[in-house]
Amino acid sequence: MMPRFTPHPPSSRARFALWATRRTLRPLEHVVPDGVLGVKVTRRLLAGMMAGAGTSPLGVEVTPVDSTTERFGRVKGEWVRPTTPRPGMVVLYIHGSGYNLCSTKTHRPLVSRLAKETRVTVFSAEYRLAPEHPFPAAPDDIERAYDWLLAQGWTADQIVVAGDSAGGHLTLDLAVRLLREGRDLPAGLVMFSPLADVTCSLITEREKALPDPMLSAAGVRKLFAHYLLDTDPLHPRLTHVLEPGEVLPPTLIQAGGAEFLAADAHHIADMLEASGTDVALEIWPGQMHVFQAANRMVPEADQALRRAAKFLVSALQASTAAAEAKEATA
C-alpha cells in the first residue's frame, strides 16, 4: 500500500524557484515571436531549460529505436533500461510537448530517473508534433507505439502508461481508446500535470485566480491552435468524456498547486472517480508544471517521483499477480 499523500508547504527552495521563474520566464513570453518561428525559438529555449533543471542518473542505458515495418509503420523512441530491470514489466512513457515542443531527448533525465527509481525498463516514445504535424498525428503515433510494444511480446497487464502534460492527455486518450475498442487495458496509468481541456477554459479560469509562473493561457492557446487547426476541440479524442461504468486502470495523477494545469488535473481525477476508476490525485502545494523534472531545483521533485515509482511498481505487481492467478485456475 502507498502511504497517504499529505500535502506539505513548499520547501524554501521551491518557493525561491517559483519567485525566480515568475520574474525571469514569464516576461520572456512577450519576447518570443508568434507562429512557427516562435515554436522553433521556444523548442531551443526549453531544451536548454530542461537540461539545466534536472540531472541524469548513472547506471541507466539509453538505446534509440527507429523501426519502420509494414505492420506498424514508423515507430521512434528510445529504450531506457536500469542496470537490473525487473522482469516482465515495462513502462510506455509519453513526454510532454504542448503538442509543439520537446522530445525524448529533453525528457531523458526525467525518464531515466523514473527507470532507475522503479527498476523497470521504459520505452520513451517519440511522436510527431505541430505545427508540422497537427492532430491526429500525435495520438496515432502513440497508439502505434503501444501496439508495437505488444508485438515485442509484452502483454497489456505488464505495461504501465505514463506521461506528463500533453503526454498525460495522450495517456488518457490511449486508455479510453483501448477501453472503447474492447481491448485489454494496461496495468496502470501515471499522469504528471496532465492536460484535459484543449479549449483552455479550465486554464483560463485558473489563471484568473493564480497565474502560472511560466506561461499564460494566451500563450498556451496559440500553441494548441497549431495542433488543432480546424478540428473541433470537442472531438471525442480531444475532449474525453467517460460514461459511468467506463472504468480505466488504477491511476495516479500528480500536479503542482501553482501551475496552469492544476484544474485540468482535478477535472480528470473527478471524471475518473465518477466512472468508478481507482484514482489518486496529488496536488503538491506551491509546485510548478511537471516539477518532477526539476530535481536540481526543488527537493519535492524526487519525493514526488518516488511516490509515482512506488505506485507504478505496485500496479504492475498487482496486475501480473492477477494474470498469473487467472492462468493457474484456467
Binding site: 479560469e205 484568473k208 492544476a262
Partner: protein, 301 residues
C-alpha cells in the same frame, strides 16, 4: 498583540468567487490564514477554495448574499462555527458594476440593485461584524475590517451615479467606523482602486457602449492580486485610505484642492474627451442595451 492582522487571520471575504475578493482570499491563505470564501456564486467560490487548498491553505465556501441582513448573519454564524471563534479580519468586498445612463434615464431598479449590494452589503457587514471585532480586539487579538469602495467614491464620473453614490457611502461608512474604532485596536481601511483586471464589467449591468469603453480601460488595470497585496500591507500598517494606483491618488488630491474645477473638467472630458461619445444625446435604453449602433456592436462579443 503587535502581530500583523493579515498574518494567520481568521478571515471572511465577501464576493470571493472572482476578481479582487478571490485575490484577497488566496493572499490571506498564503499568509497562513483560515479563509471563509463567501459569494452568491458557489461554483466560483468552490474554485477559489480549490486553488487555496491546492497550495496547502485552509478555506471553506459559504453562500452569502450581502444585500440581505439575514444572509450576512447566517454567514457570521457559519464562520464562527468553522473558526471555533470570532473572525479577526472581515473584508466587505462584494460589489457590482452599473452604469451607462445619466440620472433620469438610469432605471430605478438599477439604483436599487446597485445600492442594495454595493452600499447595503458593507452596511450589513459592518453592522454584524463590528461588535465581534471589537470583542476580539479587547481580547488582545490583531483585528481589522476592510471595506472595498472605489475611486468612484470621490471621482463622480458621469453616467455612473448609482455606483458613485454607493461607493461614496462606503467611504463615509468606513471613515465613520474608523473614528468610532479609535482606541479599540480594530484597524479600519477602505480600498479605492481605479481599474483592476476582473470580471466586473462583463458581469454587471453596464450598457453596451459604456461597457466597451470600460473593457478597453480595464486592460490597463492593475492585477487583482497586486491590489490585494498592497491593500493588506497598508492595512497592517494601519492605513485608512488605500489607493493602490497613482491615478486614484492624483484624482483624490485634485478633487480635495479644487473640487469645483474638478467636477467641471470631468464633465467636459466625458462629453468631448477620448472616452465619451461625441453624440450629445443621452442613452435612453435600459439594460441590456439593444445593439443599435453597428460601430459598437462588434466590440460586444
Amino acid at each position: 498583540m503587535t502581530s500583523k492582522v493579515s498574518k494567520n487571520a481568521r478571515a471572511i471575504v465577501t464576493g470571493a468567487a472572482s476578481g479582487i475578493g478571490q485575490a484577497f482570499a488566496i493572499e490571506l491563505a498564503r499568509r497562513g490564514g483560515q479563509v471563509v470564501v463567501s459569494d452568491i456564486d458557489m461554483v466560483g467560490a468552490q474554485r477559489t477554495v480549490t486553488v487555496i487548498e491546492d497550495n496547502g491553505g485552509t478555506a471553506i465556501a459559504v453562500h452569502c448574499d450581502v444585500s440581505r441582513l439575514d444572509s450576512v448573519q447566517d454567514l457570521a454564524a457559519e464562520a464562527c462555527r468553522w473558526f471555533e471563534g470570532v473572525p479577526t479580519l472581515v473584508i466587505n468586498n462584494a460589489g457590482v458594476g452599473a452604469g451607462g445612463n445619466v440620472v433620469g434615464d438610469a432605471p430605478m431598479e438599477d439604483w436599487q440593485w446597485t445600492l442594495g449590494i454595493n452600499l447595503w452589503g458593507p452596511i450589513n457587514g459592518c453592522h454584524v461584524f463590528a461588535p465581534m471585532l471589537r470583542d476580539a480586539a479587547a481580547a488582545g487579538e490583531s483585528v481589522g475590517i476592510i471595506n472595498v469602495a472605489s475611486a468612484a467614491s470621490f471621482g463622480a464620473a458621469p453616467r455612473m451615479a448609482a455606483y458613485n453614490v454607493s461607493k461614496a457611502g462606503v467611504l463615509s461608512l468606513s471613515e465613520t467606523l474608523a473614528a468610532e474604532m479609535v482606541g479599540t485596536g480594530v484597524k479600519v481601511s477602505v480600498l479605492c482602486p481605479t481599474f483592476v483586471k476582473t470580471n466586473i464589467v462583463t458581469s454587471g449591468r453596464i450598457n453596451a457602449k459604456a461597457s466597451a469603453a470600460a473593457s478597453r480601460l480595464m486592460q490597463f488595470g492593475m492585477s487583482a492580486d497586486k491590489v490585494a497585496r498592497i491593500c493588506l500591507d497598508t492595512h497592517d500598517r494601519g492605513g485608512l485610505y488605500v489607493m493602490p494606483q497613482i491615478d486614484a491618488k492624483v484624482g483624490w488630491q485634485i478633487k480635495r484642492t479644487i473640487p469645483h474645477t474638478y467636477t467641471r473638467v470631468v464633465g467636459l472630458l466625458e462629453r468631448y474627451g477620448p472616452l465619451g461619445g461625441d453624440d450629445s444625446l443621452p442613452e435612453t435604453s435600459v439594460h441590456p442595451h439593444p445593439v443599435a449602433d453597428p460601430a459598437t456592436s462588434d466590440k460586444e462579443n
